[in-house]
Symmetry: D2
Subunit: 389 residues, 4 copies
């Protein structure tokens, strides 16, 4: 295969995003308003205002509500990821990006106006209430065994259940809640906060870029008007599939950008600093790490682009996104680890973002499906295809 | 980036090559005429005759002498590599493929008629006499320190020197000899065998697919008519560069095909054989290996295609082919190693080609530049580009 | 070699330490008084009081001031490391442990009474002021290029310089300061805090177990009475060598204990939790990780014991401790990484100590000499020994 | 733990073996009588004669028939492995070594006189007929599903079945055949060759050090006198267990010796040869590989010694030998791979034994149980022990 040229529109958007992230966002990485879950609301809003002014807010969704292709999005979202703060600033962060994508695909005109618009405009954050705490039978890890239930009561659904690892729940204004009705899985749109959705606690996790962190939630008699169901009753898993592969892939894009930047920082360090009489990079022990990073950044980029091209054909891309997520997460972690190592004591300190990127990507090997779960499903697919021959 | 569709002509050629290699070539893998350096001459000729009949001999060079693009070649040569015997059968093997490429780019019409034509027609094999034994100062590993000299004597060049790891020298009819004149490095076309080119010994190496093996050679007063110089005097390194990246890349293509086939064999084995009560593939220890192979075959394919696209722009692709060669060789080795492991005792036996592919790819991590040399040059490039910023 | 039995005294001490750490210390791992640099002073003092009561405070130094052998210490300090809080509680933590060792070897009776005694009794913390910030020529990474100077002024030394990564400086009562006099490197004992030793900042690092963290320090006209020099003038590097290998090795011991405990937690998790219909450990993808951990915990233990036995012969153990530190740090990191991965989302959360152990050991691959520096010195040694043959 | 001193007797024997292997055996590594399955019978006999003369034949069995301890054996057998030819020359090779061990433990005085004595004296080779070809249900990999049957017929047992991977069957004079009677698994001692034991074929495998190679065998109405049963009827698996762990461990010892020697060769190469202006070892890319080898040779040695010490307590050492075999095989492979890589083209050629050692150790990762099978059984043990808590 040869590679088609990047579209002019994507290139232009990407250039703007890159300039904005490097020049405007990156200087805030050491901002005292950074915390255990990324920027404070005030800092986030300040950065979004600047992005709006620079015309790079929600850059992958065009004014008419249409989206860039997945291939184009790859280019743009990698640039937004050049700072761990970039996705929040540009409104390309998880889970909002995936939620906007889903609402754009499945939402009714009314739902788009009420729930999608404030997200696209960067005036609200959202959360996706799907994953559940595993009980002793491990139901949590297997979405088909969802325990949260929705029952009709007059013109309302009444929802009860428990959710965990709900990213951004703290502070979100829009929620998409998955629950099981008699028809099967359903999705519901809700305004947040709602007293029936109680945040038990926000987990203290190794990553620190996502506003609101990851919460454990109890849903206790949440009442949702019938017309706030997203799409059709019983189709929840189908919609989850719609969101699944693209959201996995945008994670890859953003973290690819972050690893690219970490590698720039490590390269700069290695070229400037000397040890034992010569620049670090002239030590093969360091130079080879950076050479490997160069190689690894390239094939992870190519995997992202390949998977994006598959999605752009209309394919669900389940296997392709499993392959890509696994490969990208595992490889970016090695890149980040080498950046840390090449920088010695500075690498494990907060003096640069390298230390944070290392922590974030450690979590990424687990978030959106641990590597082992993806390999497990790929092995099943291999067997299935062998049997079909 | 999105990927452009494969050209129809390349797809058609690749399909033919794949069918031929799977149906006609692969059955000869256990042919008793296979030896320590691949097929006997008789077997090689028999296979080439069949390839000619099937219209898949030298499939990447069209009837008018033009070549497929590098991107198209990638598709076709991967298919020719589906058997370790395929490249010999289809006349896409090293070093002939690289030598044909070089002669096509640099040869005069006379040189093409006399030396290139028999190669393209599969009637002769060739050898490329460049690498030299390292003396104690390591000159051998550094091409700029070539010791073989060419001196004018009337209308002839007289060449003296020693070469090593000359693939296919034993049995070749066409030689391209590199030597240093007062102008710098030169290339000479010679008919082989020639008593002045003495094969000291053929090395006993871990790989076993290349006819003629790898020889140590003494060149003792070899007389070459002046008009058998290839191109201009002193331009030898420039021509070597022309051949370098594409030849590296076709190695990647062929071995990618071989690893693909090894993985098919291992997958078939793992789906058929049981251990501890279930098929091997249902053991995650095996299934995960095959899942990883699936992932690794994909990003190595993408790296090859990316580098081919770079070469198709006219770029020399020095860094890109270093990155690709290193990544592909190291990754295919892991794939081959997993295939061996998944097949247990059968994997280390000659009952399938998996064992051979493992050995071949072990050598590939060293041939055409060990991984460490490529990383060394990439680190230099990283530093250079940093300094230029 | 066969292994000699553990001494009864070491076994008894180790058993007490293990019981204390598991029963008394571990419950405080989720204590709200835990912070970015380990326990608050109040919590640390509370734990030390309990250790004193349980007769496991400074358990490797006997009442007569003598030390357990290195081999015995290995057993005891591994147990103290079973909680990241254990070394602080038992007073076996860095840098105090190394400082006590050094003072025990080199200190005069007066120095021991004044500076060592409060450390052994757990009434004070200490800091070792050796490493310096690298200037552009990289002097910092090369101890022989120390920039901090000590000049005689009457009966005092006046010291000026800058230090970095000074663990525990914040809050320490005893300091050992290295500086260069005209005779060469010297060590000075100082009471802390001292206004002439200014903490510029405490680094924000990935690890979080060491009270006081790691500080950047300015020493500005620090005046030290002449009799507070530790040992002889100009012998500073010799004393640093005395401390070097044992201190490296006790790091290995403590982190080995932490990795052992992390593995216990991950094993318990994997045996209890189910996914896809069976306990995690019955999935080979998880079971194999834990099996590898079992293997890796064993050979790292053996390396520690081997190096300890070398030190017990009186050998400086420079190469052996480089080999051991490198191997143990790199391997424990893999163990910790597998523990995180096996536990999925819980693994990257602060709900267990696994996440912290992962971060601590990431830093350990750099602290006390990055892996690459140790390999560099080992390669030099290999060459030296080859030349000597 | 500290390490007990090596016994004087083991040290003396090991020194003799080392001198013999280095001075007398190693020069035959390039002997033209070396073949695909190691030395020809003539060369093997010549070397054994020399070993006998040097008093290093079967050095781990003393004149009174007693064995060195496992710990002592470790020292001696590592030395015998310093050449891939060493174990044959010194009569410490598989499967003879394991068969002698088993006969020494279980054989009657008559069996020892008739079958063991010629083995100890190096006048005969032996084979152990246990492993069977897997049928579609995978019985072969699971020893409890043995298909070979023994039925009583008068005073004889009549045995029928099929075996595979029978090392050394070709050319052996003594056979130990496992088959199932009504009582369960049994072992039988047989003189070889016997027309009822037909060698279908000798496998063509990646390794090449074992005389006779690995054969596929049909046993067709083999009649064995009743008194040639080894031990008791139905106790075959118990006896197999007796042989199992020690035989696994002597494999580790021998290959540790081979890897040690390969590393010496690679080190010598790296210190002598230059590239890009300095000795290879001064390139960190090479020097770090050799440093890692130094580390890896040490902890594999320690694991062997640890497991030997466990066996010396009388423990069966099932888990310990699984851990050790897995760790040693996987690690020695990395060492051998680095040796190959450090030596470039020479590394993949037969000019030194490095290439062979690489191939042998590749097979070792599968022989005596693939790594995955050992990890599978270790995971089971981990779960079992957790349940017992």
């Amino acid at each position: 295969m040869t590679q088609a040229p990047i579209s002019d529109r994507a290139r232009a958007i990407a250039d703007n995003v890159e300039r904005f992230v490097r020049e405007t966002v990156a200087p805030h990485e050491q901002d005292p308003r950074m915390g255990a879950h990324g920027p404070s609301d005030a800092l986030a809003d300040e950065l979004k205002d600047k992005a709006r002014a620079a015309n790079v807010l929600t850059p992958h969704i065009l004014d008419d509500g249409s989206h860039l292709t997945h291939a184009e999005t790859a280019l743009v979202l990698r640039k937004s990821g050049l700072s761990p703060l970039g996705p929040v600033a540009c409104n390309t962060a998880a889970p909002d990006e995936g939620n906007m994508y889903l609402l754009g695909k499945v939402g009714s005109p009314e739902a788009k106006e009420r729930f999608l618009k404030p997200l696209v405009e960067g005036r609200a954050r959202s959360a996706f209430f799907m994953t559940e705490p595993a009980d002793e039978n491990g139901a949590g890890s297997d979405p088909s065994m969802m325990q949260t239930v929705a029952k009709m009561d007059g013109n309302h659904w009444v929802i009860n259940g428990r959710k965990t690892f709900i990213t951004g729940a703290e502070g979100a204004k829009v929620g998409i809640v998955m629950a099981k009705s008699d028809d099967g899985a359903c999705m519901f749109l809700v305004d947040l906060p709602d007293p029936a959705i109680r945040i038990e606690r926000v987990l203290d996790t190794i990553d620190s870029s996502m506003p609101g962190g990851h919460a454990v939630i109890t849903i206790d008699n949440l009442r949702v008007p019938a017309d706030q169901m997203l799409g059709e009753s019983g189709e929840g898993f189908k919609y989850a599939q719609v969101r699944l592969a693209p959201a996995r892939l945008t994670h890859c894009m953003r973290w690819h950008g972050a690893a690219t930047r970490a590698n720039e920082i490590a390269t700069d360090y290695a070229c400037r600093r000397k040890a034992f009489g010569k620049p670090l990079i002239d030590h093969e022990g360091v130079g080879f790490m950076l050479a490997q990073n160069l190689i690894d950044l390239k094939h992870t980029e190519l995997m992202i682009d390949w998977c994006a091209a598959v999605l752009d054909t209309g394919d669900l891309g389940t296997a392709e996104s499993s392959m890509t997520k696994t490969h990208v997460a595992e490889t970016l972690f090695k890149i980040a680890d080498r950046c840390v190592q090449a920088m010695g004591g500075t690498g494990v300190s907060g003096d640069t973002i390298v230390e944070q990127v290392f922590r974030e990507i450690r979590a990424f090997r687990i978030y959106d499906g641990p590597t082992e779960v993806h390999k497990w499903s790929l092995a099943k697919k291999i067997k299935r295809e062998w049997s079909a021959d």
